[in-house]
Symmetry: C2
Subunit: 479 residues, 2 copies
C-alpha cells in the first residue's frame, strides 16, 4: 500500500492543494492510496456529490491519486484545468522529493563510508603485524556489511600465504577455495552471487603494487538478504585505501626477516670458528623458542627472543680462538677473559638502539638464580625473562654437545643436570616449560636440532622419563 | 541578479504555471528576476492590462516573482486564490530544489574526497621512503586545495625532523614556523586564517599513534580566496586515513636503521680483532658513501652501499687471527687462505635473502678492472658498481692505515697510488668521484675518518693537489 504521504518529506503543500480544490472550486476532494483507501479528504458542507473523477499521481508510480467529486459533471468539467494544474504541481513536487531522497541516501552512504574508513585507519595505526592487521580489516568489514562469515587469503613477505577467518571452519574455507567464483574474483573483479542454500556471497580481489595478491570472501547466511552494490563498493574502497599500509607492512615484515637471518648467519659464522660450538647459537635460539612458545609469548616477542638467542655469544668475536678452543685446562687469566664474553657482547651491541629485552636476553645468559653468575651477579627476577630462558637453552646445548674433554651427554642426563640446578641456577618455570616442549608434538623438531634421531621406542621412553622428570622438577630443591 | 530560472533544475513546471495562469484565468503573466527584469511572459491576445499585481517568490529570498496583469482589478481579485496557489506550488518546488542542490553538492564533494583518497593511496603504495611519501601527500593536497605554497613538518624514525616543502623558500618556512597559529595547530586543531597581505592559511596537525607529531601548512596567495570548510575537512580526512601508512613507514625506517647499525657494530667487532684493521669497515663504508654520493646514487641505494661496506670483510671471521695479524711474511698457503675471505663472506651471506647488489658489493671488492683480482677474476663492467666503489674505498683505507711493516701513507701518496691503477685495477670514474668528494665541502668529514686533522694550509695545498690529480686521472693510462 503506497501513499503520497510516505513520499513527501513535508505534507504541507499536499494539504494546501486539497484546501485549494475544495475551497476555490467547491469540490469534495479525497486523496487515496494505491489501493483506493482515503488518506485525506475535504468536503464542502451540505454537499451532494454523485459525480466524481479520479486523477492518479504519476511519479513514483502507483501511489494513488486525487478523487474530485461534485453535484454534477459540468462543475467537474469546469474545474478540470485547475485540477490538472494542481496535479501537475504535486507530480513535480514528488519528482524532486524522490530525487532528494535518493541523493540524501547516497550522500549519507558516502559519509558513513568515510567515517568507516577513518575508524578502520585508527584501529590499524601502529600495528606491526600483517596478519593481525588483516584480522582487524576482516572483522570490521564483516561487521559493517553484516556478514556472518568471511575470510581473507593473501600473501606475506615472501609470497607465503596469510589467512584470517571470521566465524569460519577450516572445512568451510577449504570448500570455498575450490569455488569458481573465487577464481573469477582472483582475476580482478568483485562478485556478488547467491549460493544454492540462498546465502549471499561477496568475493573481492586484494591488490598490491605488483598485481593481485589474494581474495576476500564474505558470506551472509542469516537473513539471506543479498549483499548490496554499496556494500560491494565499500569493500573495494577499503581495499584500495588500506593497501599502502599493507604494502609497507610487507616491506617491514621482509626486513624483519632479513634482520633475523643476518644475525643468524653472523652468529653461525662466529660459532663455526670453533668446531665444538658449531651450530651452537642456532640450537640455543631453537631451544629458547621452544621454551618461549610453551610460555605463550606472542609471535613478535618470539622473534625478538630468537634474535637474542643468535646474539648471545657475539662477544666471543673479541676472544682469541686459541683460548676459546684450547684443549687443555685454562689458566685463571684465560678463564677470566672467557667470562668476559657477555661484557663484549654488551660492548658490541651497546651503540645499537636495540630493544632492551633483546640486549638483556643476549647479555644475561650466564647470570644464575642465586646470584652466582656473571658478569653482573644478578639474582632471581632481576635477571630478565629472556636471560633466564637463554640460560637454560645455553646450558642444555653445552651439555648435549661434544667437548674436547668429554662426549655429548644424552638428553635425559642433560635434563637431569638442569633439574638439579632448579632455583639455585635456573628458573624452575623455564625448565618445566622446556620439558613440556619436549613432551609436545614439537619435540622432534626441537631435538632434531641436536641431530639425535630418536626411534619410536626412544620417544616412548623419553616421554615416560619426561613425565617423571616433570614431577621431580615441580618439587626439586623446595624445602 | 537572481532569477528563478537559475534555481530550477527543470523549468517545465514554471512554464506550465505561467500557461495555466494565462489560459485558465485570462491574465497577462510575467516572471521577473530580482531586479524586476522579465525572464518569461505570456500575454493573451489583444489584451489591455492597466491593472497589475506583483507576487514575489519566498525562498530562496530575492529571486523575483510573478507579475499578473488584467484589464481591471476585479479580475485580479477573482484570480487571486488561484494565483496564490500557483505561487505556493512554485515556492514549494523551489524549497525542494534548493535542498536537492545542497545535498547534491555535499554528495559530490564527498565522492570527490573519496576519489582523491583512492588516488593518493595508489600513488603512495609501495613507496618505502617516509620523506618521499610526505612529499607526495604535500603535492597532492596542494593541488587538490589549489594552494600556492605549503610545507609539512613531522618526525622520522627516531623523532628527528622531516620537512618537505611546496614552492616555499627556507626563509618562508622559518617565518611560518614562528607563527602563533602553528603553535595552536600543534595543540591539535585545524585552523584557517587570513594573513595581513590577504593570503589564506590552513594549518593542520599531524597525528601519530602516540600523539601529535607535526604540522602541515598550506597557503593560498594567488586569487586570495580563503580556504573553505570542506578543504579543511579534506585535509583532516587524508591525514587520518593515511596515518597508518606513515606509522608503518616509521617502523620500517627504524628497523632499517637498526639493521644498518647492527651490521656496523658487528663489522666493527670483527675489525677490532686486529689492531691494524681497527675501524677499517667503518672507514671503507664512509669512503664508499662519499663516492656513491658524488655519483648521485639515491638515498635508498646509499643505505645499501653502506651496508655492503660494513659487510665486505665479514668473511675474515673465518680466518684465524694468527694469520690475519701475522707480523712476518705469509706462506703461500696462508696467503691463499686470506684471499678466500670474499668467498667466506659470500658463504656467510648466501643463506640470507640479501639484495643482489649488496651481496655483490661485499664480495667483489678484490676484483680488478683487468680481471687480475680475486675470487672470480671478473673484469670491467662485470664487476658490480658497488664492487668497483668498495674496491677503491678499501685500497685507499689500506694505504692510509699503518701496517706492521710500514707507516700509514699520506693522503696524497695514497691517491697517487690509486691513480696509477686507473683502468688496470680501478674504475676511473670511481677514483674521479672520490677525488671530487675530497675537494667538496664534505672533505673534512670524509678525511676525518682517517684521523688526519688537516690544518687550513694543508687543506689549501690538498685542494691544489686534487685539482692537478683530477687532470692527471682524467687521462691516466690512456693511450
Ligand atoms: Fe655464553
Ligand atoms: Fe677485503
Amino acid at each position: 500500500m503506497a501513499s503520497i504521504r510516505d513520499y513527501l518529506f513535508d505534507t504541507a503543500f499536499l494539504d494546501q492543494s486539497i484546501d485549494y480544490l475544495a475551497e476555490a472550486h467547491n469540490l469534495a476532494v479525497t486523496v487515496v492510496d494505491s489501493e483506493g483507501m482515503a488518506v485525506a479528504s475535504r468536503q464542502p458542507e451540505g454537499h451532494d456529490t454523485p459525480a466524481s473523477r479520479a486523477y492518479p499521481f504519476r511519479f513514483p508510480s502507483n501511489i494513488g491519486g486525487i478523487v474530485c467529486a461534485a453535484p454534477d459533471p459540468a462543475r467537474l468539467d469546469q474545474a478540470e484545468p485547475h485540477i490538472l494544474y494542481c496535479l501537475a504541481a504535486l507530480n513535480s513536487q514528488l519528482l524532486r522529493e524522490t530525487e532528494l531522497q535518493e541523493t540524501t541516501e547516497e550522500m549519507l552512504q558516502l559519509a558513513s563510508q568515510m567515517n568507516f574508513l577513518v575508524k578502520v585507519a585508527k584501529k590499524i595505526i601502529g600495528i606491526d603485524d600483517l596478519k593481525k592487521c588483516y584480522q582487524i580489516i576482516l572483522e570490521e568489514i564483516a561487521t559493517a556489511t553484516k556478514a556472518d562469515q568471511g575470510f581473507i587469503q593473501t600473501k606475506g613477505r615472501w609470497g607465503e600465504e596469510i589467512r584470517v577467518t571470521h566465524r569460519m571452519t577450516e572445512e568451510e574455507v577449504a570448500a570455498n577455495r575450490q569455488s569458481a567464483n573465487l577464481q573469477r574474483s582472483a582475476s580482478g573483479s568483485t562478485i556478488i552471487c547467491t549460493r544454492e542454500d540462498g546465502a549471499s556471497l561477496l568475493y573481492s580481489p586484494i591488490k598490491e603494487k605488483k598485481g593481485l595478491s589474494g581474495q576476500m570472501l564474505f558470506i551472509r547466511t542469516g537473513d539471506h538478504r543479498a549483499f548490496s552494490a554499496s556494500e560491494k563498493q565499500l569493500v573495494g574502497i577499503i581495499e584500495n585505501i588500506i593497501s599502502p599500509t599493507f604494502e609497507t607492512l610487507r616491506l617491514y615484515d621482509s626486513l624483519q626477516d632479513l634482520y633475523l637471518n643476518t644475525v643468524k648467519a653472523l652468529a653461525a659464522a662466529i660459532d663455526a670458528k670453533d668446531e665444538y660450538t658449531h651450530g651452537h647459537s642456532f640450537r640455543v635460539a631453537k631451544y629458547a623458542l621452544a621454551i618461549g612458545g610453551e610460555l605463550g609469548i606472542d609471535s613478535q616477542q618470539l622473534n625478538d627472543l630468537e634474535i637474542a638467542g643468535y646474539m648471545h655469544d657475539l662477544g666471543k668475536i673479541g676472544i682469541s680462538e686459541l683460548i676459546l678452543s684450547k684443549p687443555g685446562k685454562l689458566t685463571s687469566e684465560e678463564y677470566c677473559l672467557i667470562q668476559k664474553h657477555p661484557v663484549f657482547t654488551d660492548k658490541i651491541l651497546q651503540p645499537i638502539k636495540l630493544p632492551a629485552h633483546i640486549l638483556d636476553g643476549a647479555t644475561q645468559h650466564h647470570e644464575r638464580m642465586d646470584g652466582t653468575g656473571y658478569p653482573l651477579g644478578l639474582a632471581g627476577a632481576d635477571i630478565s625473562l629472556f636471560g633466564r630462558i637463554i640460560a637454560v637453552a645455553d646450558v642444555f646445548d653445552a651439555l648435549t654437545s661434544k667437548r674436547p674433554y668429554r662426549d655429548a651427554l644424552p638428553v635425559e642426563e642433560a635434563l637431569r643436570t638442569l633439574c638439579e640446578g632448579i632455583d639455585t641456577l635456573f628458573d624452575r618455570e623455564m625448565i618445566l616449560a622446556f620439558i613440556s616442549a619436549l613432551r609436545s608434538d614439537r619435540s622432534k623438531e626441537v631435538l632434531g636440532a641436536i641431530n639425535i634421531v630418536l626411534r619410536h621406542d626412544d620417544l616412548q621412553n623419553l616421554n615416560q622419563f619426561l613425565i617423571e622428570l616433570t614431577a621431580f622438577a615441580m618439587n626439586a630443591n623446595r624445602n
